[in-house]
């Protein structure tokens, strides 16, 4: 049983979290023709925007209701309305995704009421633009919660409710935020290889995959279409990926009766096997030769790679579902998770993370728990700890701002797991040192039972 240790410090040191509204905005960025709108002060948007740009290296449409001292006292509904109509006139978006911030939530604004009021009064002017609200105060949750709330809000607000005629080949996929552009592209190809069609919500592979349009576009270009969200209820089946996507999948099921299967992770042989079996069962098709080939390649990668993984100590900090995704991968390869840090104690998936204990905390916690580890696994902000501890850093999640191409890194199903095995094995190989007589001297470093592990001592 994994013990979950709550945060007891008053000063967070080197935060692991990105904020909840940022997670919601990221989900809205996966919709075609969308502009996320932060309901708060201009800085809330500016910081999120800069962080997105550092990670994706793309233009990011993101706007603010620009609350100030006076509007905070008088109330923000006028600013919200003005922002919505300014966006409507200037960019004609198909979707405005409103994400609240700590500022308006602390004030206790009734944003849902404000929006339905605006919709009612100015329905005609708003024709052609959906407005969806995610309540995402910064003082709760992180990326994962914000992303899930935005997806839930889109299903609740846009998808036609009620039982619909089902299209037998159509699969709705609700990916967690931790799937990259490459993951989504691969997922779609895999589904199509069984003769099925997929609707992915949200689909960052359509909008943030790094392309060069031949004219200026002020909204997202590409991603899930509003029409596809509306028609989500006609899917034969829904596949949700990551525990945080359970709620959106539930909401879809309750609204439309589309049954769902939830995969907690698609990384690793077992998860991939289950996923492929499901596709085969839904489609009634045998598994294509190319997929069998990929599986065999993964088997071989496990064989070649395992020499480098066995006994290695991993220190990992990530949001719950990603912590499980990578934690399980490392343990399945023969490593041990010696330090695990996450952003919240509330997620059900944490019980399944193969670590003795999980600290709810920050990268300061990771740094103090990680001494003696062979590898740090977290986002780019782990770079300072990596340098101080002299332990290599594998960058995963968000933000990754000091390496290119993180969106195009594949880490799911047979092929992604194969690539991960190689990537990590190469990290270990790069860090290998030649043995020295001192290190091996049987009288110097002999380990007796009850003493701490020798490598803990040799590291410093």
């Amino acid at each position: 049983m994994t013990r979950i240790l709550p945060q007891t410090k008053s000063a967070a040191i080197n935060p692991l979290k990105s904020s909840q509204p940022l997670g919601a905005a990221l989900a809205f960025l996966g919709i075609d023709g969308a502009v996320p709108l932060f309901h708060g002060a201009q800085g809330c948007t500016s910081f999120a925007l800069v962080l997105f740009v550092r990670h994706f290296k793309e233009t990011i449409p993101l706007q603010t209701t620009a609350m100030d001292e006076i509007t905070i006292i008088l109330g923000g509904s006028d600013n919200l309305e003005e922002a919505i109509f300014n966006l409507k006139t200037r960019t004609t978006p198909k979707l405005i995704g409103v994400c609240t911030t700590a500022l308006v939530e602390t004030r206790g604004e009734d944003c849902a009421g404000d929006i339905s009021d605006i919709r009612l009064r100015r329905a005609e002017e708003l024709a052609g633009t959906e407005i969806v609200l995610a309540n995402t105060p910064d003082f709760a949750g992180a990326l994962e919660e914000g992303w899930a709330k935005a997806v839930t809000a889109m299903i609740e607000g846009i998808t036609k409710p009620g039982e619909r005629a089902r299209q037998s080949k159509k699969i709705a996929i609700l990916p967690g935020w931790n799937l990259t552009v490459a993951d989504l592209e691969h997922l779609r190809e895999m589904v199509e290889s069984f003769g099925l069609q997929s609707v992915i919500l949200p689909d960052l592979s359509g909008s943030l995959d790094g392309t060069v349009p031949d004219h200026w576009v002020p909204t997202t270009y590409g991603g899930t279409s509003i029409e596809d969200i509306r028609e989500l209820g006609t899917a034969e089946h829904c596949i949700a990926i990551g525990e945080h996507m359970r709620r959106p999948a539930e909401v879809l099921y309750k609204a439309t009766g589309v049954p769902y299967v939830l995969f907690q992770s698609l990384t690793g042989l077992k998860g991939a096997d289950q996923f492929v079996s499901l596709l085969s069962a839904i489609s009634g098709q045998p598994v294509p030769a190319s997929v069998r080939r990929r599986r065999a390649q993964l088997q071989d990668a496990l064989l070649d790679g395992h020499f480098h993984f066995g006994g290695k100590k991993i220190a990992i900090a990530a949001e719950p579902d990603q912590l499980y995704q990578f934690g399980a991968f490392f343990v399945d390869m023969g490593c041990a998770i010696t330090a695990a840090v996450t952003t919240t104690g509330m997620s059900k998936i944490l019980e399944k993370v193969p670590a003795e204990s999980i600290q709810v905390g920050d990268l300061g916690d990771l740094e103090s728990l990680a001494s003696g580890a062979d590898l740090l696994v977290t986002h780019s902000h782990g770079r300072q700890a990596s340098k101080r501890l002299g332990i290599p850093l594998m960058r995963i999640g968000f933000p990754v701002f000091d390496r290119l191409g993180s969106q195009h890194r594949l880490s799911i199903l047979y092929q992604g797991t194969r690539d991960l095995v190689f990537e990590v094995a190469n990290l270990f190989q790069a860090g290998r040192r030649a043995p020295t007589p001192d290190e091996l001297d049987p009288f110097r470093k002999r380990q007796t039972p009850g003493e701490p592990d020798a490598s803990l001592l040799t590291r410093h």
């Binding site: 008053s10 940022l22 999120a48 962080l51 740009v53 233009t59 603010t64 620009a66 300014n86």
Partner: protein
């Protein structure tokens, strides 16, 4: 909030600001904050501005009293460099939770956070930043800081610049106020001398102040405090003992300079280390101010000799770029850098300026810039992303120099771009910095990828027969491969013939 409103009124009424002096009484009262348009606004908040000004002080723990986003989404994101302590890059925040906000536990959490930091990091000082939510729930950070300072025997400085107070620029000014109220003048140095100066508003981005400091060293001038670039708390606390000051980024810290002049009789001038003539002018001004304050006048001659020598070297290096950059057209889109001297150097080696923003320039700057432009109408206050894109994709410029915010406007228009704002990778200050800038412009414009990305794919458009297939004829292997592929796909060829 009353004291904060008073502060805001005070910092906006800046007699030393050229722009402010040009306004009538009513306009002056309104301050320099522009009302923001919801849904069409850009730029950071007051908290952002305050942190930008103070965070590069390297041995201080910067503690942000806020829910996660203010610090969690923004830490370790600027390229200032430190020659020693790294504490400033460690992020501290009270990361307020819903319970903290609802139960009103903010002040207690803040106090405990200060204690934890003091015990674990023993910083030279702790700077505590208020933010929107903690201002809204009424946390009295000044009182907490005062109490913590007494209890822990540590300098704990409240920085009262919540985001909702206004713009980034206002935050810059409020940060300076915090230094004036709580830091500067609190330490009396035992080595004050006649050649001590302060440099205000220099951020040491990419370490660029280190291109300038050796010049000052050579002249025997000591930088008492560079605020904030690569600063130590002690230096800032004893900055009042300097004899003269230079303001580099005047929009940010002019008020600080003026008040230091009033309070401690430290005369100042506005200058820049960007561009050759400006760097020389800055050195000259520093020497003159020091002489005015009692330094030996012989420093003036030494300064002139150094300037002559360094300028000659720089121009010689720049001349090498003339053949490659002559006639190239530059679009400048930046508010931050006072760019006229930089523009001057670019024009001097034969480049043309086809447009420049003058958002933060003074009237005097604008006049100078206009003299250097080909067309008077090429200055603009601010340009929308769409308009910038139109200029660039229309081929009306060869490169854009701007900040990161508009980076992808240029890149998506498939135009060379160079970062000259805070995230930049290269140091551009001083004589060597100007040479580096021109070198980077040269590298950007002449990179071979531009030809490649602008090329349309050969298979997009009218389809030709095999003969027209691209492929180096002397590369037998390649040609063979092309023929083989083509041979394997006869159906495509047939349909291609039909289309024609």
């Amino acid at each position: 909030m009353t004291s904060l409103s008073a502060k805001i009124q005070d910092v906006f009424d800046e007699p030393a600001c050229d722009k402010n002096r040009g306004k009538d009484v009513r306009a002056r009262k309104e301050g320099c904050a522009r009302p923001l348009t919801p849904g069409a606004a850009a730029g950071g908040c007051a908290f952002d501005g305050a942190k930008i000004v103070l965070q590069p002080i390297t041995d201080v723990a910067h503690l942000v009293h806020a829910p996660l986003a203010c610090e969690g989404n923004s830490w370790d994101n600027r390229g200032a460099a430190s020659s020693g302590p790294t504490l400033w890059r460690t992020s501290f925040t009270t990361d307020l939770t819903e319970l903290d906000v609802v139960m009103g536990r903010g002040e207690r959490k803040l106090f405990k956070a200060i204690r934890e930091i003091k015990e674990a990091y023993a910083p030279a000082a702790v700077f505590v930043y208020s933010t929107c939510v903690t201002a809204l729930i009424g946390d009295d950070i000044e009182a907490v800081c005062k109490r913590a300072a007494e209890k822990f025997g540590l300098a704990v400085v409240p920085v009262n610049a919540p985001g909702l107070a206004g713009s980034k620029n206002l935050g810059n000014k409020l940060a300076a106020e915090a230094l004036l109220d709580h830091v500067i003048g609190t330490v009396e140095p035992d080595d004050a001398g006649p050649y001590d100066i302060n440099v205000l508003g220099e951020f040491n981005l990419s370490g660029e102040f280190w291109l300038v400091k050796p010049l000052l060293d050579r002249l025997g001038i000591r930088v008492r405090a560079c605020i904030p670039g690569d600063a130590r708390y002690r230096d800032v606390a004893s900055a009042h003992s300097a004899r003269a000051a230079m303001v580099v980024c005047s929009t940010a810290l002019i008020t600080l300079a003026r008040k230091m002049d009033e309070r401690w009789d430290i005369p100042f001038f506005e200058g820049s280390f960007y561009g050759i003539s400006d760097t020389s002018e800055a050195l000259r001004n520093i020497a003159e101010l020091l002489v005015r304050k009692g330094a030996d006048p012989e420093i003036l001659d030494r300064t002139e000799r150094l300037i002559a020598q360094q300028e000659a070297i720089a121009w010689k290096k720049l001349e090498a770029y003339r053949p490659r950059l002559q006639g190239k057209r530059v679009l400048l889109n930046t508010g931050g850098v006072k760019s006229w001297s930089l523009v001057h150097a670019l024009v001097e080696i034969g480049m043309e300026i086809v447009g420049t923003s003058v958002k933060k320039s003074t009237l005097e700057d604008k006049v100078r810039i206009k003299q250097m432009l080909k067309d008077d109408n090429d200055t603009f206050e601010q340009m929308s992303a769409r308009d910038l894109y139109a200029i660039l994709s229309g081929g009306k410029a060869d490169i854009m120099l701007s900040g990161g915010r508009t980076q992808f406007v240029a890149l998506k228009a498939k135009m060379p771009w160079l970062d000259i704002n805070q995230e930049r990778q290269h140091p551009y200050a001083g004589y060597d910095g100007m040479v580096e800038l021109v070198r980077q412009i040269d590298l950007a414009i002449h990179n071979p990828i531009w030809r490649q990305v602008r090329e349309r794919p050969p298979w997009d458009g009218p389809i030709h027969g095999y003969d027209a297939l691209p492929g180096p004829s002397d590369d037998a292997e390649n040609l063979h491969a092309v023929q083989e592929t083509a041979g394997k796909a006869p159906t495509i060829c047939v349909s291609a013939e039909e289309i024609r």
